[in-house]
Amino acid sequence: MLVSIYRYNPEKDQTPFMEDINIDIPEGKDLMVLDVLHLLKEKDSSVAYRRSCREGVCGSDGLNMNGKNGLACITPLSDVVKKDKLVIRPLPGLPVIRDLVVDMSMFYKQYEKIKPFLINDTPAPAIERLQSPEDREKLDGLYECILCACCSTACPSFWWNPDKFVGPSGLLQAYRFLADSRDTAQDERLADLDDPFSVFRCRGIMNCVSVCPKGLNPTKAIGHIRNMLMQRST
């Protein structure tokens, strides 16, 4: 199989380039893209990429494979390879540090902005803050996010305004805390999202939904935030 991989080492290369490498894929097995990267690294140890858990939990190997973002470790070749060719690029829209490794600071900064922690100004109970099963259910489809950045880096609005638009991942988390019955800072949180960029740059094209490896739906969460903002102001 022909693998075309994005290469860039700022210490050596003037500009990024695509390197074509032929990889022998063992017969009768459906490898994951991450396995192909390992085979590639055996051939050329200078290839740089991030990985850790190799089972879709840590969120470090988000990549663009044949044009679609996803986690290399849980993307089988049968899903992405077309005409015996696989093009691997770093997540789009973020600065490249080297090869497939991108600088995620912008992404984390947006995450930080939404205050991803419970705020509760009532006195702490002796043991824990309880939540009814119904209230807990509201967090399903939100808390599972692994911050892999596949969604935000597939979002054109995030490409154009990564410094101002929170992006699908951050907004999903924003809603995760807005929806939490134990949080008392709902109004402050909403006040922070009211500007023309943070939430309202979302154009609802749902790229985020189509790439999320966890099957989450940031667009829906963004819709909920918009409704909450509307209820607060009208």
């Binding site: 609005s157 154009w160 101002k164 999202l193 500007d195 023309p196 918009r226 509307m230």
Partner: protein, 115 residues
């Protein structure tokens, strides 16, 4: 909170609502005009100017005109902040849009109300 001074509603929610409400008004106006044209077999100058002589029609037209201005402003402001990264270029573009839109709205009012 990202402060922004030039968006119409000065806040994302209002811009968003302006965009939606004006879209509905523009859609209603378009449907009305197209319907009128389709249902009027012989469109004479008298019929056409008669239509725009009524106060209701004038108010409706004025509303549609203002909505068009607001809709276009929010839309173009958004596009310019997406694609124009150089502040100078963006400022000139937004200023030009503002002037053109103001001119069209003012001119449209003159036409509708025949002042």
């Amino acid at each position: 909170m990202v402060a922004s001074v030039t968006s119409l509603g000065r806040n994302g929610l209002y811009d968003w609502m302006i965009q939606r409400v004006s879209a509905v008004v523009l859609a209603a106006y378009s449907v009305f005009i197209i319907g009128y044209l389709a249902l009027t077999p012989e469109l004479t100058y008298e019929a056409w100017s008669g239509l725009f002589a009524g106060t209701c029609m004038r108010i409706f037209s004025l509303l549609a005109l203002l909505c068009l201005g607001a809709h276009a402003w929010v839309g173009l402001w958004t596009i310019s902040t997406d694609y124009m990264k150089a502040t100078g270029v963006r400022f000139i573009f937004q200023a030009a849009c503002g002037v053109v839109m103001f001119a069209y709205v003012a001119w449209g009012i003159l036409v509708i109300w025949g002042l």
